[in-house]
């Protein structure tokens, strides 16, 4: 990469030297599959969830009533406020434990920081944001590891607990199950608009609120109905995660565009070309699995592939449970919508309908 004379002079903002922040920094599924192809597949009687099926976290059974959930997640800064960055990165890491149906117990921080480029107070603020988010989840931040680096990275390794009977995997969806999603779509595009200085104050506060909202209460509310499968919407985008869930459950899926909720202005930003690189990566990885039954405006399909940071949860529930689930969510103050369904068909295939 050549240096460009038109490049702005570094004014000490956290995101200035970051190529892709948040889940936009994720290696694409297409590339990841190649990297992981040579790795041995771990098999053990107690390993209930490993790297098969692109699960959110590993689950290891300790005894018949108890299993540990293990996950790690980190990324470069996606906002300039160090405290907020710490909160969001921690929230995103904790989310994997909720996506498996568990409760986070302890966490350790992963931290890389260029101590020559920024004052140490910035580092302290990142860690404070992370620690506060862990405390909000009712878990304990018990230490971590830090290194000098040219690029800032922060995240958590999280250990959670779960009764093996309560594990929610990708693979339990059944034919005719409804797909229910919490949170709005478009964090990747919105964060790029933020970096471009185009996000209004009101849009910023909506986005930051979503990025720092834990999925704990959504999971708790969901427990009031029989959940067949669950995952969180993160780096692979909505289509990628529905695809993984459908494939693992050996089902096809249908998605209804008119049922989706997007962040305000996200469509307009995508239309103007504020689409993160990894959205194109996701498109390349997953588009072969998608049939658009009608032409979609390009900006809408971009948002289907938009990498989500600290995204919502996706649930598969029986048709007659979906209204109960939405009600349980709304009683807990959480907006959730039915965005599609699983059907018999080509495993992992998604039909995208307009309404």
């Amino acid at each position: 990469m050549t240096t460009n004379p038109e490049k702005p002079i570094d004014n000490n903002q956290l995101t200035n030297n970051v190529k892709a922040g948040g889940c936009s920094a994720k290696i694409s599924a297409f590339e990841l599959k190649q990297i992981l192809a040579g790795l041995p597949k771990m098999k053990h009687a107690n390993l209930l969830s490993g790297i098969d099926n692109f699960e959110d976290a590993a689950v290891y059974k300790l005894n018949d009533d108890l299993a540990i959930i293990e996950s790690v997640d980190f990324f470069p800064p996606l906002v300039d406020d160090p405290y907020l960055y710490g909160q969001i990165a921690a929230n995103n890491a904790l989310s994997d434990v909720y996506a498996m149906g568990g409760k986070p117990l302890i966490a350790q921080a992963i931290f890389a920081f260029p101590t020559c480029d920024y004052p140490l107070s910035i580092a302290a603020e990142i860690l404070r944001g992370g620690a506060d988010q862990v405390a909000k989840a009712g878990a304990l931040l018990t230490g971590g590891h830090s290194i000098q680096s040219s690029e800032t990275i922060y995240g958590l390794a999280v250990t959670g607990l779960i009764n093996p009977k309560d594990i929610l995997t990708n693979s339990g969806a059944r034919p005719n199950d409804r797909i229910v999603m919490t949170k709005a779509l478009g964090t990747g595009v919105s964060l790029l608009a933020l970096k471009a200085g185009l996000l209004s104050k009101a849009e910023q506060s909506l986005l930051f609120a979503a990025l720092t909202t834990l999925n704990d209460r959504a999971l708790e509310a969901a427990r009031r109905v029989d959940i067949h499968a669950c995952t969180d919407v993160t780096g692979f985008g909505l289509v990628g995660h529905i695809h993984e869930m459908a494939k693992a459950s050996k089902l096809a899926a249908r998605m209804v565009i008119s049922a989706l909720r997007f962040f305000p202005s996200a469509q307009e930003f995508a239309k103007q070309g504020l689409v993160p690189a990894s959205a194109y990566g996701n498109r390349k990885s997953f588009e072969a699995n998608v049939s658009y039954i009608k032409d979609l405006p390009l900006e809408i399909s971009d948002l289907l592939y938009d990498p989500q940071t600290a995204g919502g949860l996706l649930f598969a529930v029986a048709e007659n449970d979906s209204a109960n689930l939405i009600n349980a969510m709304s009683e807990a103050g959480i907006e959730a919508t039915v965005i599609g369904e699983f059907t018999e068909g080509i495993p992992g295939h998604i039909d995208v309908l307009i309404s």
Binding site: N4, L296, G345
Partner: protein, 228 residues
């Protein structure tokens, strides 16, 4: 007036922001931008289209040259007229011209569906019909598909139901032209129930097998249905 920008080495959103600044200057009729990643090309194409500019891209050595042009007439209509022969409605078209490996590709998806519900063109092959008559009608259907392929029309999908699914027979006379149509990006799909009835299901690739729900959705969301 024309202006050039060298935005190599910059990552999103910088190239979009800097190009947008030039687009806002109405005195410029042509903006030429150098970028070094395909993502930037795609994003500049989106930007150009949203501002109703024509966008062209060329891959050169290690970078891409993106040319955004303000045309004096309505550029969107021109694009539609050139590339969308099937355009019949006013709904927004994905008229983007995107670069892939230096080639210029136009997205030409439209809402025309071709529904083939028997294995002949027109007249059904009732019991009173002779075999010669049936063969003639079947050949006509083949001729229709060949002509469609050569015409440059690009319907959204070709759907086959009832005895129409016999066209998918890998040993039959239609499969070659159907595959060529599929290669052009047209979805070629056959009803699973019908394939099963005619004993063809195991001979057709799974991604080309569809169901009545999807067929119904395709038909109801189509701008136009042609049933030969």
């Amino acid at each position: 007036m024309k202006k050039s920008l060298d935005l190599r080495g910059l990552t999103c959103p910088e190239p979009v922001l800097r190009t947008k600044k030039l687009i806002d200057d109405q005195s410029l009729s042509c903006i030429e931008v150098l970028v070094d990643s395909e993502v930037n090309v795609q994003n500049l194409t989106r930007l150009g289209n949203s501002q109703k500019l024509t966008v062209q891209c060329k891959a050169e050595d290690e970078h891409f040259r993106v040319v955004l042009q303000r045309s004096t007439t309505n550029s969107e209509e021109q694009v539609s007229a050139e590339h969308h022969h099937d355009a019949t409605t006013t709904r927004a078209k994905v008229s983007s011209t995107i670069a892939a490996g230096g080639n210029i590709i136009s997205s030409t998806a439209t809402g025309t569906i071709i529904l083939i519900s028997r294995n002949t063109f027109g007249e059904a092959h009732g019991s009173e019909k002779s075999k010669e008559d049936h063969d003639f009608s079947a050949n006509l259907l083949n001729l229709f598909l060949q002509t469609l392929l050569q015409s440059g029309h690009e319907p959204r999908a070709i759907l086959m139901v009832n005895s129409g699914v016999k066209l998918m027979d890998p040993d039959g006379p239609y499969i070659k032209v159907l595959n060529e149509l599929k290669e052009k990006g047209i979805e070629v799909l056959a009803c699973g129930l019908c394939l099963d009835y005619y004993g063809l299901k195991s001979k057709v690739p799974v991604e080309q097998v569809t169901n009545m729900f999807a067929i119904c959705e395709y038909l109801f969301s189509a701008d136009r249905i042609i049933s030969p």
